[in-house]
């Protein structure tokens, strides 16, 4: 019998090439006759382009071509908008700016030449006459009358304004014993995968087809938009996300101008073209996130029951909206979290500014929402002199209330419903891991000794497994080995291992006999991409269901060939055999050959299509709601403001785990990102829209010194919405982190009664809070 592989810590099949320098990342790829490209970027956040003179650049030896907007022809139109929405006044980018630039880093010209050195030399020879214009660098400032406009026809830079809610907020706030109000700010941060963006394209003149290799999270999206920009059919543009992509985290799921420029140039020049982004460019042109202002209000009874919550949000979306208003919507709908509310109202304003566009970065608007709700919970606890864990327990949705319609309603009238979860148990478990009660005793002693330690909590609910679908083709080869093809594409999440585990589990064969092909639009026609913690749900279930279909088909053909009853057959270790008579068997490989028509004179049984293969696109009925709690302890040095992490505990529910080792890696990695967001990572723009932190010297990523190993408890609450019972886990490690840290610092400094209203918290900001409190 094959061993059950679902839920097992199978070691990763991806590792060997990566450990020996044999990986194939996009910049490792070379094509015959390949040229390199570089992008000239706007140095101004807002300016008119009066003229561009590329003659000197074109004349430089080693330069093959220089393109400006004037050279693009039909490709000079705006990039199509993803997710159109009547509530949004949408603006998307051109591949190259035409007469106006709207953020520092916006592409203005595209140089193609022999290598990166000469193309960058050429950039310096391009003369652009800019007429700088006034800049709207801050979202709240951009809303004011008289502020500089990113688009003259869009008043107050308002891209969208919408309200969501349920219940009667006015009534509820009117009768509350306590109403708390607080303003919060979360700052811009970025994904900063270790590999920057890379796009390589090759044009086959005779077949009139393009092949692209891109370090992308969404190859089908790239293919669709690239074909539209180039005036070609989708089948003419094949996009491959190479076997190895060095991290994604959200920003690589977008169709950037370069994704259009590279194939355009390859076609125009008849030679392969590769563009490799460098880190400095990455800071200036790869999408960012996290920039929000919140004015929040919470209405409570004096026993600490939250009655209602109101929030007015200003969401900085940068200069363009490639992803529409998906993210503001995610923030808005995440605010209620794991709590029962009688009334909820969020007023969301999405504002254009002269900065890099905003699209999801790990957490995708949820960290901000959780930050606001959790901070208010802590402030309420302080006000009512309740323990922060206790106040949350008094307000959690209870496990027996699942599935729980949380109050919001979709545009189509359907209720937003949390499907499963045990929020009280998660928090209690995280508290156990950290030794919460023991810590409180230590805390009293420490205060006595003049040491300031504190504990903070962040509880979250996360909609994962976003649809509309992902797909898989499961095929048995004539060798008996299995080929799994999926539109999902990994950037380190171990898909090749986990997807193989699922197929192996369903088909009863060895993981090593399964090949997984990911991220190739030429191998599977439809796909959405790897982001939003959606692949375990969507691709995982597709593979399981397709594998089950293949299994059924194998049994049907075998029944026919073995002249046995299908119910008497078993599939194990690569063969189908009659139960109790193992000699009567036929291998999967032989069955595959039969199904492919290789057996002369054989007719397939009625209703069975050729090929031992099945395709399945799993479409979730709704999001699968993962959840968890982080509990963190810190020590604050009140003289320097330095915050040291003492311990970090996570209890989380991602449904059934395919591979616990990989799950832990995702949680720990998410925690590191959360620590970065909480203390170190801040993109600082000045009033002219210039990024002041545009390198790793100034934008600080946490290192092994700053990220302790978290204690992780898995609470597997099976998801009832999909056959595998799984939920997503890629972002959960990040989502509540900043909230928990803010709470911990505040708790440590309780004797000074400070209130933490923004993240990231640098030591200087902690000192400022203390100074204002008199210390």
């Amino acid at each position: 019998m094959s061993r059950a592989l679902f839920g097992v810590r199978v070691e990763r099949r991806e590792d060997l090439p990566l450990l020996t320098g044999q990986g194939s990342y996009t910049d490792d790829l070379k094509r015959p006759g390949m040229l390199h490209a570089a992008v000239l970027r706007s140095p101004h956040a807002h300016a008119k382009i009066r003229s561009i003179d590329v003659s000197a650049a074109r004349a430089l030896a080693g330069v093959a071509a220089v393109f400006t907007h004037a050279d693009l022809g039909a490709a000079g139109k705006e990039i199509p908008l993803l997710q159109p929405n009547p509530l949004l006044v949408a603006r998307t980018q051109l591949l190259l700016a035409h007469d106006i630039v709207r953020y520092v880093g916006e592409p203005v010209a595209f140089v193609v030449g022999d290598d990166r050195y000469v193309t960058e030399d050429a950039l310096e020879l391009i003369e652009v006459a800019y007429e700088p214009l006034a800049v709207a660098a801050d979202a709240e400032g951009a809303l004011e009358d008289g502020a500089p406009l990113v688009y003259p026809e869009i008043a107050n830079n308002l891209a969208s304004r919408f309200t969501l809610g349920f219940g009667d907020a006015t009534e509820v706030f009117g009768r509350a014993d306590l109403v708390l109000r607080q303003r919060f700010k979360t700052h811009r941060g970025a994904g900063q995968a270790m590999e920057c963006r890379v796009v390589l394209a090759e044009y086959d003149r005779r077949a009139n087809r393009i092949t692209m290799w891109s370090a992308t999270q969404a190859p089908h999206l790239i293919g669709r938009l690239a074909s539209q920009m180039l005036g070609m059919e989708e089948w003419q543009v094949r996009v491959i996300a190479p076997h190895d992509v060095g991290g994604g985290f959200g920003p690589k799921a977008i169709f950037y101008p370069e994704e259009g420029l590279v194939p355009f140039a390859a076609r125009a020049l008849g030679r392969p073209v590769k563009w490799t982004e460098d880190r400095h460019e990455h800071f200036l042109s790869t999408n960012q996130e996290r920039d929000q202002y919140h004015d929040a209000e919470m209405a409570l009874t004096r026993e600490g029951k939250v009655l209602g919550f109101r929030d007015t949000v200003v969401f900085d979306t940068g200069a363009y909206v490639p992803w529409g208003i998906v993210e503001p919507w995610i923030t808005a709908t995440t605010i209620p979290g794991p709590y029962k509310l009688s009334a909820f109202q969020v007023d969301m304003q999405v504002v254009y500014t002269h900065k890099v566009p905003v699209t999801p970065v790990r957490g995708a608007g949820r960290p901000q929402a959780v930050f606001v709700m959790e901070r208010m919970m802590d402030l309420a606890a302080r006000e009512l002199q309740l323990d922060p864990a206790e106040i949350r327990q008094r307000n959690f949705i209870q496990p027996e209330e699942m599935p729980y319609p949380m109050g919001l309603v979709y545009r189509d009238g359907a209720q937003v419903t949390y499907d499963s979860g045990d929020y009280p148990a998660c928090l209690r478990k995280a508290q156990d891991l950290i030794g919460y009660d023991q810590f409180r005793r230590e805390q009293s002693r420490a205060r006595f000794e003049g040491r300031y330690i504190g504990v903070g909590i962040g509880a979250y609910v996360e909609g994962t497994g976003l649809g509309p679908y992902e797909g898989a083709i499961v095929q048995i080869e004539s060798s008996g080995k299995v080929l799994v093809t999926t539109g999902a594409t990994p950037q380190g999440q171990g898909h090749v291992t986990t997807m193989a585990q699922i197929a192996a589990h369903e088909l009863g064969i060895d993981v090593d006999d399964i090949t997984v092909i990911t991220g190739d639009t030429g191998a599977i026609p439809f796909g959405i991409g790897t982001f939003a913690s959606r692949i375990a749900v969507n691709a995982g279930n597709s593979i399981a269901l397709a594998a089950r279909e293949v299994r059924e088909k194998a049994l049907a053909i075998a029944a026919n060939l073995l002249e046995a009853n299908k119910d008497d057959l078993e599939l194990a270790q690569g063969s189908v055999f009659v139960r109790g008579a193992p000699a009567r068997s036929i291998s999967l490989g032989a069955l595959a050959l039969t199904a492919a028509g290789a057996r002369p004179g054989y007719t397939l049984p009625p209703g069975v299509q050729p090929g031992l293969q099945a395709t399945h696109y799993f479409s979730p009925s709704q999001a699968a709601y993962a959840s968890g709690a982080h509990v963190i302890t810190v020590e604050v040095d009140v003289r320097t403001g330095d915050v040291k992490i003492l311990d970090y505990a996570v209890a989380h529910d991602c449904g059934r785990m395919i591979n616990p080792m990989i799950v832990e890696g995702q949680v720990q990695g998410g925690v590191a990102h959360g620590i970065g967001n909480s203390f170190y990572e801040e993109l600082i723009y000045d009033n002219n829209g210039q990024l002041l932190t545009a390198s790793f010297m100034d934008y600080l990523l946490p290192t092994a010194k700053e990220v302790p190993t978290a204690k992780i408890a898995h609470m597997e609450v099976v998801c009832p919405l999909n056959p595998l019972g799984v939920k997503g886990v890629g972002e959960g490690g990040t989502i509540p982190s900043a909230a928990a840290f803010a709470g911990a610092v505040e708790d440590a400094l309780a004797p000074f009664n400070v209130t933490v209203k923004e993240v990231p918290l640098s030591p200087e900001k902690v000192r400022k809070l203390l100074r204002e409190a008199g210390r």
Binding site: T640, E706, P763, R767
Partner: protein, 254 residues
């Protein structure tokens, strides 16, 4: 090199001294530790000679970036580059190091106090090469300490402090010096000119007061990483920390 990669520095030519083996020496002579231009920071860090003869240098070196940077960066190179937040500037200043400069016109020696002129600017003329830094060897009854505050380990110091405390036979302070880095365009020296600590027992209160005077003696600068006010606070905290460390070590006779 990062400046070259960013295309912020555009030299027409680079002179690489890595092949000039005569500059790779580290030895003690006449009460000085002589460090040639090619001595890597990592080599100095791991050198028993440096630890024994120049504990302040040994104490500051591990704060410089990461070991991969120190494998390549040189002690003398850091001094010549004169980054305003560099650790070794404070070390050189505190110790009263001497910098030996060579050109086709001859050799000259400049004391540390005159070497650092402004941001990334030293007394070196464009045709001169810094060939050696010499640091006074450790003295008896003297303690040395280096303290730094950075956002992450290995980052440029927001503030760094080098402290030297010498005791007399009666266990009172004979001399105290502090040098700050990261607070302005050049490292700043604070000595006990006013004789506040000299002749006094090294009590916490006395050292506190000295540290505060030191931190108040200059205008700190602001940048994207820290305000002037915060830098001054840090300077005071670190000065006190370094002073106390140095004092404790002076009692042990180094």
């Amino acid at each position: 090199m990062p400046l070259l990669n960013f295309r912020l520095a555009r030299p027409a030519a680079i002179v690489d001294i890595n092949g000039v083996e005569e500059l790779d020496y580290l030895h003690q002579e006449d009460g000085w530790l002589a460090v040639g231009a090619l001595v890597r920071q990592r080599a100095a860090e791991l050198s028993a000679l440096v630890t024994a003869t120049c504990p302040l240098l040994a104490g500051a070196l591990p704060f410089i970036g990461h070991f991969q940077i120190r494998n390549r960066g040189t002690v003398v190179g850091s001094l010549a580059h004169a980054d305003p937040a560099a650790e070794l500037g404070a070390v050189a200043l505190a110790l009263g190091a001497e910098l030996r400069i060579q050109s086709t016109r001859g050799t000259r020696t400049v004391p540390a106090e005159q070497f650092f002129v402004s941001y990334l600017t030293t007394a070196l003329a464009p045709d001169e090469l810094l060939v050696e830094a010499r640091f006074p060897a450790a003295r008896p009854r003297t303690g040395y300490a280096f303290a730094e505050f950075a956002r992450r380990h290995g980052d440029f110091a927001l503030v760094g402090v080098a402290a030297i405390v010498e005791q007399d036979q009666a266990h009172r302070c004979a001399d105290a010096r502090l040098a700050f880095t990261g607070v302005g365009p050049v490292p700043i020296l604070f000595t006990d000119e006013q004789g506040v600590l000299r002749g006094e027992p090294l009590t916490p209160q006395a050292m506190n007061a000295f540290a505060e005077r030191a931190a108040a003696s200059f205008e700190a600068e602001l940048d994207v990483h820290a305000s002037a006010e915060y830098r001054r606070e840090l300077a005071g905290v670190l000065a006190e920390q370094a002073l106390k460390s140095a004092a404790a070590r002076s009692k042990k006779g180094n």
